[in-house]
Amino acid sequence: MGVDIKAYILKRLLLLIPLLLGITLLTFSLLKALPGDPVQGFVGERASPEIIESIRKEIGADKSFISQYAGYLKLLITGDFGRSYYTNRDVLTDIAMKFPNTMKLAFGAMFIAIPLGITIGYISAYRRGGFLERFMNIVSITGLSIPVFWSGIMIMLIFGLELKLFPPSGTGDIRFLVLPAVVLSIPAMATLARVTRTTVIDILGMPYINTAVAKGLPSLKISIIHVLKNAIIPIVTIIGLDFGSYLNGAVVTETIFGWDGIGRFTMEGIIKRDYPVIMGCIISGTVIFVVVNLITDVIYHYLDPRIRLHDKER
C-alpha cells in the first residue's frame, strides 16, 4: 500500500506539469489581452519615446505573443521567475520572503476556525431545536455573510484602537498575527460549523449510533469515536479548500492589517501590470493549491481506508 501511495503522489505531482503549462498559457494570454501597458506605468511622467521603446524591447514586449511565452517558459525551466518590472527585485526571492507570512496567517486562521467551527457545529447538531442551536446558527450565518473588509475594520478599531489589546497593523510576531487571523478565521469557521452540523445530524440518525447507544457506550465516546470519525471527511475537505485558498493570500485582510503576504503582493502586481510578479504568484499559487489538495487526498486515505486513491485505475 505504501508503494501505491508513493506512486499516486508522484503521478499527481507529474500532472502538475501539464496543469502549469495550461495555467501559465491562460494567464499569459489574459494578461496580454488586458488594457494597460506596464512600461507606461513605471517610466514616470516625462520619459522619452525612445526610452519607452528600449524598455519594451528589454522586457520583450515588442516580440510576438508566442515568442514572449516561449521566452518566459525557458526562463521558468531554469527556476527563474524573472524580476519585477517596477522594483527590479527577483520575484522568487520576494515570494519566498512573503510566503512564510501568508502561511502564518493561514495557520493562525485555521487554528482558530477548526476547533471553534467544529464545536459550534457539534453543539447545534446535538441541541437541535433548542435556543443554543438557534444562537449558534445566527453566529455561523453572520460569520458567513459579514464581508471581511467590514469585520476587519471593526475588529481593528475595537481591539486595536479602543481596547489597545493588539497592534492594529504590521507584520511580525504573534501579537501582529492575532487580529488578521481572527478576521480571516470567521468565514472558515462559519462554513465549518454549518458543514459539521449537517453531517453530524445525518450521522446521529444512523443505525450504528443507535447500536452504540444501546450498547450503553458513554456519550462522549460516541461523539468522538462514532460521530466525529464518520463526519471527518467533509470537514477535512472544507479545511483543505479554505487552507489552500488562504495560502494563496487573503488580499483584503492583508491590506487592512498591513500584513506582508502573498495576497497583497499579487494584487499590487495586478494593479501595476507587473507581469513577472503576477505570473510568479499564480504559478506558486497553483503549486501550493495542488499540493494542499494532494495532502488532503492522502489524509482521506488514512482517515477512511475505504477511500482508494486510485480507484479510476482499477
Binding site: R46, A47, L157, K164, P168, T255, G258, F265
Partner: protein, 527 residues
C-alpha cells in the same frame, strides 16, 4: 468538586494570560526613531530610475546632489560649495566641498558626478529621467552610442566639475536639485548591479539599514553627514496601504507624521485636541481636466472655452474639495508665477449662459464626449459633478472608468476626449509647468497629454528656456501662459494644499513645497 471547578476555569484563565502576554500596542517603537507612513512600497531607490514621489522623498535623505533648494525655493549649495555660470549661459562650473564622504567612507570627487550623470544618459541604464541632461553637449551622441563619454561633463580636477550645455537653458540649475541628479559611488553600482536599489549608498544624512518590501524601510542617521547634525536616530517608513489603518496607527502614537488622507481631514480639523498639530502648505501642483485638443470635438478652442465657462470650479473647490486648495487660473502654480494674468483670467469665470451661447453658435449642442477617469472615489464623485455641469449646457459626458494602468495607457495614447489628471513640480520653475505639458515635442507620455499644439506657444516656451535674464524669461513664460489660458486645452481646477498631522512630541516638522527638500535634519523628537 473543587477540582472540577478548577479545571473548568483553567482554559479561560489560560486564555486570559495568553492574551495579556501577547497584547500591548505602542511598545514596539525603536527609541529615537521617527515613524512615517507610506501608502505603497517605493519603486526603487536608485536615483537614475526613480520616478515616484515616495522613492524620491526617501532618496533625498540618502543622497545629495551638486545643489539643492532652500526654503524660499532658491538654489543653495549642496555638495558644490559654489558655482559659476559663464556669461553666455552655457558653462556651469561647480566647486565641490572637500571631505564629503559616501556612507562607505570614500570621499566624493568630481569624477563621481561625471560617472553618475553619464549613467543616467547611458543606454544600458534605460533611465526614464534622461530628459534632465538632454540639453548637455554631447548627450545625444553618447546616448546613441556614438561617443564613449559625454563631452559636456568635464572633470577639471578632483574638486571642480564643469557642465557645458548645447544652448543656454535657464531651468538647468533647478533640474540639478532633483533626485536623478544625486551622486552615487561607482564601485557600489558595479558591486550590486541591478540590486543597487536595495543597497543605495550615498552621502545623505541617513543610511538605508533595511528595506522589507511592502513592510517597512529603516533609515539610520549618518554620523559622517557633512551638512549639520541629525538629531534623530533614524526614520522608519511603515508601509500601510489602508488609510483608515494608518489613521488608527497615528491615533495610537505608532506613526509620528501622517499625510492626512482626504477622508480623515475634517475629523482632525474639527477636533480641538488635534487641529493645532495640522501643518499645511501650498503645494506646487495643478489639477486639471484635460481635453484632447488634436481631434474632434475639442480641436475647437471655442468648445474648450465653453467647457471652462460651464463648470463652477470655485463652488466645487469650496464644497466638494472642502477648500483644500487654491483656485487655478492657469497651469503655472500661483507660487511660481512671478507675473500677473488678470487680463486673461476673465476667460475662466463661471458663466453658463456664455457657454450655452458658444455651443449654440457652433451648433455643438448634444455633443457626446468621453471622460476617462481612474477608480479613485474622489475622482468618480468629481466626474459626476463635471458631467452634470456640462449636461446643463448641452454636452453629454459619458464617464469611462478605468483601472490606473489602463487609464494611463489610454491617456498617453490620446484615446479619451477628456481626462482628469494633476501635475506636480519636479523643480520650482514655471518651465516645469509649461514645456512638458504644452510643448508640441512632448505629446502623450512626454507630458502633453492634452495633445495641444501651438507653434507660437512652442516658440515662446523655447525663448523662455533659452533666456538668461529672469525678467526676459518671465516675459516669455507669461505670454505663453496667457495664450494657453485663452486656448483652454485644460480646465484649470486647483492647486492642492498638503495637510500633514504630527504627534505633539514632534518638533521642527514642516512641509516643503517639493518632496526632495526635506532632508530630515531639522525634525526632532521630544518625549
Amino acid at each position: 468538586m473543587r477540582n472540577k471547578k478548577g479545571s473548568r476555569l483553567s482554559p479561560a484563565a489560560l486564555l486570559f494570560v495568553v492574551l495579556l502576554l501577547f497584547s500591548c500596542s505602542s511598545s514596539n517603537r525603536l527609541d529615537g526613531y521617527l515613524y512615517y507612513r507610506l501608502n505603497t512600497n517605493p519603486t526603487t531607490l536608485d536615483p537614475a530610475l526613480i520616478t515616484d514621489v515616495s522613492g524620491a522623498a526617501i532618496a533625498a535623505k540618502l543622497f545629495n546632489g551638486l545643489v539643492r533648494l532652500k526654503d524660499n525655493l532658491e538654489i543653495a549649495p549642496d555638495i558644490a560649495e559654489k558655482w559659476q555660470i559663464s556669461k553666455d549661459g552655457l558653462r556651469y562650473t561647480f566647486f565641490l566641498k572637500k571631505g564629503v564622504r559616501f556612507s562607505a567612507g570614500r570621499e566624493v570627487r568630481a569624477q563621481d558626478f561625471k560617472y553618475s550623470f553619464e549613467r543616467i544618459l547611458s543606454p544600458d541604464t534605460k533611465s526614464p529621467n534622461s530628459w534632465i541632461f538632454d540639453k548637455v553637449e554631447g548627450a545625444k551622441e553618447f546616448r546613441e552610442g556614438r561617443a564613449d563619454e559625454v563631452k559636456g561633463f568635464r572633470v577639471i580636477n578632483d574638486y571642480a566639475f564643469e557642465i557645458k550645455l548645447k544652448k543656454p537653458f535657464s531651468p538647468f540649475l533647478s533640474m540639478l536639485t532633483t533626485a536623478p541628479a544625486y551622486v552615487i559611488p561607482k564601485e557600489d553600482v558595479k558591486k550590486w548591479g541591478v540590486d543597487f536599489s536595495s543597497h543605495p549608498s550615498g552621502t545623505g544624512p541617513f543610511v538605508l539599514k533595511e528595506w522589507l518590501p511592502n513592510r517597512e524601510l529603516i533609515l539610520q542617521g549618518n554620523k559622517m553627514y557633512f551638512d549639520g547634525d541629525v538629531s534623530i536616530s533614524g526614520i522608519i517608513y511603515r508601509i500601510i496601504p489602508e488609510d483608515l489603518t494608518a489613521v488608527t496607527e497615528f491615533e495610537l502614537g505608532n506613526i509620528d507624521v501622517l499625510s492626512l488622507p482626504a477622508s480623515a481631514y475634517s475629523k482632525f480639523r474639527d477636533d480641538r485636541k488635534w487641529n493645532k498639530y495640522i501643518v499645511s502648505n501650498s503645494g506646487l501642483n495643478t489639477y486639471y481636466l484635460g481635453m484632447n485638443s488634436s481631434r474632434q470635438p475639442f480641436d475647437n478652442p471655442s468648445l474648450r472655452r465653453a467647457v471652462s465657462y460651464a463648470i463652477d470650479r470655485t463652488r466645487i473647490l469650496i464644497t466638494f474639495y472642502e477648500n483644500r486648495g487654491r483656485l487655478a487660473i492657469g497651469p503655472v502654480p500661483d507660487l511660481l508665477r512671478k507675473w500677473n494674468i488678470k487680463e486673461s483670467s476673465r476667460f475662466l469665470i463661471y458663466n453658463p449662459a456664455k457657454a450655452k451661447e458658444i455651443i449654440n453658435k457652433e451648433r455643438l449642442s448634444g455633443t457626446k464626449v468621453f471622460l476617462y477617469i481612474t477608480a479613485d472615489q474622489d475622482v468618480v464623485d468629481l466626474s459626476e459633478i463635471i458631467q452634470s455641469y456640462l449636461s446643463e449646457v448641452g454636452i453629454n459626458v459619458i464617464i469611462k472608468q478605468l483601472e490606473w494602468s489602463a487609464y494611463k495607457d489610454a491617456v498617453n495614447k490620446g484615446e479619451p476626449d477628456m481626462f482628469w489628471l494633476s501635475w506636480w513640480a519636479d523643480y520650482p520653475d514655471p518651465e516645469n509647468f509649461l514645456f512638458p505639458l504644452f510643448h508640441s515635442s512632448n505629446l502623450g507620455p512626454g507630458g502633453n497629454r492634452a495633445r495641444y499644439v501651438n507653434k507660437e506657444v512652442d516658440f515662446l516656451i523655447e525663448k523662455g528656456q533659452y533666456s538668461i535674464s529672469e525678467k526676459e524669461r518671465n516675459y516669455f513664460y507669461q505670454k505663453a501662459e496667457e495664450i494657453i489660458i485663452k486656448d483652454a486645452p485644460w480646465v484649470f481646477f486647483w492647486h492642492r494644499n498638503d495637510y500633514v498631522i504630527t504627534q505633539p512630541w514632534i518638533k521642527g516638522y514642516r512641509i516643503y513645497p517639493i518632496y526632495t527638500m526635506d532632508k530630515g535634519t531639522e525634525i526632532s523628537i521630544e518625549r
